[in-house]
Structures are given as structure tokens and as C-alpha cells.
């Protein structure tokens, strides 16, 4: 675990030593703000909550998180540092976990920097801050799920474009699985699949958090989602690290 944290610390410092951090954070904040106030009709709704903001975050992460993960292993391969990292005396899972934790902490920092929105609703009205907190927890879990998936995909290929496109496509699959379009289509043909699709949907689980409900089964869902893809990441890495 100590080795994983050492890797995470190095990785996180790496984000801030390169333009990756500033570009990612600025774009995320600009888009989150713009979408919340324009499409989300933040002022016009006349409600003191962050629902308009939370409804856009998973869709922003859909594109921004794969941009973060596409370089995770590809960059190590390109620089040859993968050979250095994986010949240091640390178990392979520690390297996988360390990289994931760094990326997750980074997303957490980006989310935390949306605090002016929170200040704004608190100045304009008296929102339920518990619900807002639970919404942020949900955002973080969605980011974690997408990160784990994207990281596993990036271990699969040295090509960053392929890693990005594949990760976006797969994240979209999980994001859209619970949407009415998909479930109604499946309901009319194969009702069993509609249930499964809804069960696997990231967006459905996230919905609970934005309403202030932190349910154990949703936590378990995200934990197993992240755990499964981190495990896949380690397996793929073991087979393809030298390619």
C-alpha cells in the first residue's frame, strides 16, 4: 500500500508538472460553469440547489476522463519508463492502484474547484447542503468508475487515440444503459435485458446521489465496478507490458 501511495504521489505531481493539469481543470470548470448557467438554466429555475450542475458532470467526465486515462499506460510505454516502474520492487497491483488513485485525486481537485457554485447557491438561497455533498460524492464515484475503465483500456493499446475513443465508447455504454431510449427499446423486445441494462447504468446510480440518497447498493455498485476494472487493468498489464 505504501508503494501504491508513493506511485500515486509521483503521478499526481506529474499532472501538475505538465500542462495536463491546467488544461484539464480550466476546460472542466469553463464547461461545467457554462452548461450550468446556460442549458441548466441555473438562475431561471428559481431553486437553491445544484441539480443543473450535477446533471452535466457525468457527461463532461465522459469526454474528459478518457482524455486523462488515455496516456496513463501509453505514456509509460512511449517513454520506456514502464520498464523502470515494473522492475522496481513493488507488486504490480500497487502500480495499477497508485496510478488510479492519482487520477482520482486529480478529478477530486477539479471537482473541489467548482466550489464557487456552492457558494453562489448558499448566498442566493438556503439549499440542503447534505444533498449537495451527496451529489459531489456521486460525481466522484462516477469519475472513479470512468477512470478505472479508461485505465484498463489504456493498458490494452499503445495508441493514445485508440485508447481515448474506446474508453469514451465504453463509458458511454455504461452511461446510456439506463436512459429511457435504451430501456424502452429493450422493454418492448427483451424485458429481462432492460432490467440488466438499468442495473448496470452509471447514470441511474448517480441519480440517487443527486437527490441526496447514498444507498449501500449504489456504493457497492461503484466499488465493484472500480475493483473489477482495476483487476482487469492488472491482468491486461501483465500480458501486454512488454509489447
Amino acid at each position: 500500500m505504501r508503494a501504491a501511495l508513493t506511485v500515486a504521489r509521483r503521478e499526481l505531481a506529474g499532472y501538475f508538472a505538465t500542462p495536463v493539469a491546467s488544461v484539464f481543470i480550466v476546460i472542466f470548470l469553463v464547461l461545467a460553469g457554462a452548461l450550468t448557467f446556460t442549458l441548466g438554466n441555473f438562475f431561471g429555475r428559481g431553486q437553491a440547489d445544484l441539480i443543473p450542475f450535477f446533471s452535466f458532470v457525468p457527461w463532461l467526465f465522459l469526454f474528459l476522463v478518457p482524455a486523462l486515462t488515455m496516456r496513463l499506460w501509453a505514456e509509460e510505454r512511449r517513454q520506456g519508463t514502464i520498464e523502470l516502474l515494473l522492475t522496481l520492487p513493488l507488486p504490480q497491483w500497487a502500480a495499477v492502484l497508485g496510478k488510479f488513485l492519482a487520477a482520482w485525486a486529480f478529478c477530486g481537485i477539479a471537482l473541489a474547484l467548482t466550489f464557487p457554485l456552492w457558494i453562489t447557491v448558499n448566498l442566493l438561497g438556503s439549499p440542503d447542503n447534505g444533498v449537495i455533498l451527496s451529489g459531489y460524492v456521486g460525481c466522484l464515484l462516477v469519475a472513479g468508475a470512468y477512470l478505472a475503465l479508461g485505465a484498463a483500456v489504456s493498458a490494452l493499446t499503445r495508441n493514445q487515440v485508440i485508447a481515448f475513443v474506446l474508453a469514451v465508447a465504453l463509458c458511454f455504454l455504461f452511461a446510456a444503459a439506463g436512459s429511457p431510449v435504451v430501456t424502452e427499446f429493450l422493454n418492448s423486445r427483451l424485458p429481462v435485458l432492460a432490467e440488466i441494462a438499468r442495473g448496470l447504468s452509471v447514470a441511474d446510480r448517480f441519480g440517487g446521489f443527486t437527490r441526496g440518497i447514498i444507498a449501500a447498493r449504489d456504493i457497492i455498485y461503484f466499488a465493484s465496478f472500480i475493483g473489477f476494472f482495476l483487476f482487469m487493468n492488472a491482468v491486461v498489464l501483465d500480458h501486454r507490458k512488454a509489447d
Binding site: R2, R10, A17, G80, E83, L84, T87, P89, K241, A242
Partner: protein, 247 residues
């Protein structure tokens, strides 16, 4: 296996690596004892780096095994790597990190903390003459400095086994001399494997030379014995590695 001080620190047994369509390393066996400096020679693509990658536990062998201080690189990878200092081909490092930051990172992974970490880092930088650039990002350094950063990382924990893939590549003659001196100084305490293209280096630092060609081990002898076989090491190398084509 292992244990006693007399046992070989590096044991390679029937190591084989097959890629789709060809065999990069073909049934190679040898061992290296404390005090030996083994020069690993061969034409480009002969399988030197592949052998070293398997020995370092980066690439899983298709068949056979390798042990470092008695620990199998496949079954006990972390124990094997703890006793190993490895300089991968091309001396990869994280370009955005400073020299001191990078060395502290590898030291922390190896479990050093606090003042011991600082001492080890300082000592590794002193050995490789990196003190002058300690706070410079690695990407701003010249090729020779980068190579020495990789070398410093391999020496940081004073490992009993050193595997160095082309440690003097890209260094100027003075730096080459320094690195060879360093290897010679450390030699009595360690088992060292270096791969190189430079044949004079074998005569200068190695106590033993192995030549591989097309993945097969063709010679295992002290450099002095090799030199007796021809007018120069160059001749011997050419004859042995081109042998099959000439015949």
C-alpha cells in the same frame, strides 16, 4: 538454492523467449557469482535486451527460469527485484521530474524514508557525479547525464546484483572512463552483468564475456581467452557472430 555466500547471485536456466514467429532467446543458461563482471555481447537484435528484461522480471520467459539471490523472478518477483539494480535499455526516466526527485521516488519505492533516503540519494548522486544538476528537470539534461541518472537509480540501494543494459552508451570518453572505474570498484562486492557494443569495454572491466547470436549462447569465456583466438576482440566477435553465414 541461494542462501550461502558462495552460491551464484544470478542463475539463468534454459531461459527461452519466443515471439510470434521467432525465438528471440533460445535456451540460454549461465550463472554469475559475486565478484564477477559479465560482459554480455552480441549484434543488435541478438537477444541481449530480451534476456536482461527477463532477468529483471519485466518480461515473462516462455520457458526456463532466472533467479536473483535465490529468488525466482517469476514466482517471487518482489523479492528478486529488491536485490537487483537494473538499468533498462535507453535509461528511461520521468522527464518532468528533477534528478533528486526522481531518485527519491525510486528510493521511497524501495522502502527508504527520512534521513536514510536523503543519504542514499546523495550517495548515488555522488557516485555518478550528478550533484551539479540535482534540481534540474531530467528533460533538460544531455544524453550522458540522463544515462547517469538511470545508473544512479540502479545503484541507490547498493544491490548485490546489477544488470546494466549499455551503461556507457552516449557518454563521452571521460564519463565512460568514470563509469568503468565505478563498475570496477563495485565489482568485488557484487555480481554485475553489462551489455555493450564496445568491445574494448569488455577487456577493460569484464572478468568474463558471453557472446550471443540469434538468441543462442555461442561463447562463454574470459576476455583474455577470447583475445588469444584472434588478432583482436573485434575479429573474434565478427567470426563468431557471422560464423553461420560464412560457412
Amino acid at each position: 538454492m541461494g542462501g550461502s555466500a558462495l552460491a551464484a547471485l544470478i542463475e539463468i536456466e534454459r531461459l527461452t523467449k519466443r515471439f510470434a514467429g521467432f525465438t528471440a532467446v533460445d535456451d540460454i543458461s549461465f550463472s554469475v557469482e559475486r565478484g564477477e563482471v559479465l560482459g554480455f555481447l552480441g549484434p543488435n537484435g541478438a537477444g541481449k535486451s530480451t534476456t536482461m528484461r527477463m532477468l529483471a522480471g519485466f518480461m515473462p520467459p516462455s520457458a526456463g527460469t532466472a533467479r536473483i539471490c535465490g529468488a525466482d523472478v517469476v514466482d517471487q518477483p518482489v523479492a528478486a527485484k529488491r536485490n537487483l539494480g537494473f538499468l533498462p535499455e535507453g535509461a528511461p526516466t520521468y522527464p518532468e521530474m528533477t534528478v533528486a526527485g526522481f531518485l527519491a521516488f525510486t528510493g521511497r519505492i524501495r522502502g527508504f524514508r527520512g534521513s536514510e533516503l536523503a543519504d542514499r540519494t546523495a550517495h548515488a548522486m555522488a557516485l555518478t557525479q550528478l550533484e551539479g544538476v540535482r534540481l534540474q528537470p531530467i528533460e533538460t539534461l544531455s544524453k550522458g547525464y540522463k544515462r547517469r541518472v538511470g545508473l544512479a537509480q540502479a545503484l541507490l540501494h547498493d544491490p548485490p546484483v546489477l544488470v546494466l543494459d549499455e551503461p556507457t552508451d552516449g557518454l563521452d570518453p571521460n564519463q565512460k572512463h568514470e563509469v568503468r572505474e565505478l563498475i570496477r570498484r563495485m565489482a568485488p562486492e557484487k555480481a554485475i552483468v553489462i551489455s555493450t557494443h564496445i568491445l574494448e569495454e569488455v577487456g577493460a572491466v569484464c572478468t568474463r564475456a558471453i557472446i550471443i547470436a540469434r538468441g543462442k549462447l555461442v561463447v562463454d569465456a574470459p576476455p583474455s581467452v577470447l583475445e588469444e583466438q584472434g588478432s583482436s576482440l573485434d575479429d573474434v566477435f565478427r567470426r563468431l557472430t557471422l560464423g553461420q553465414e560464412a560457412a
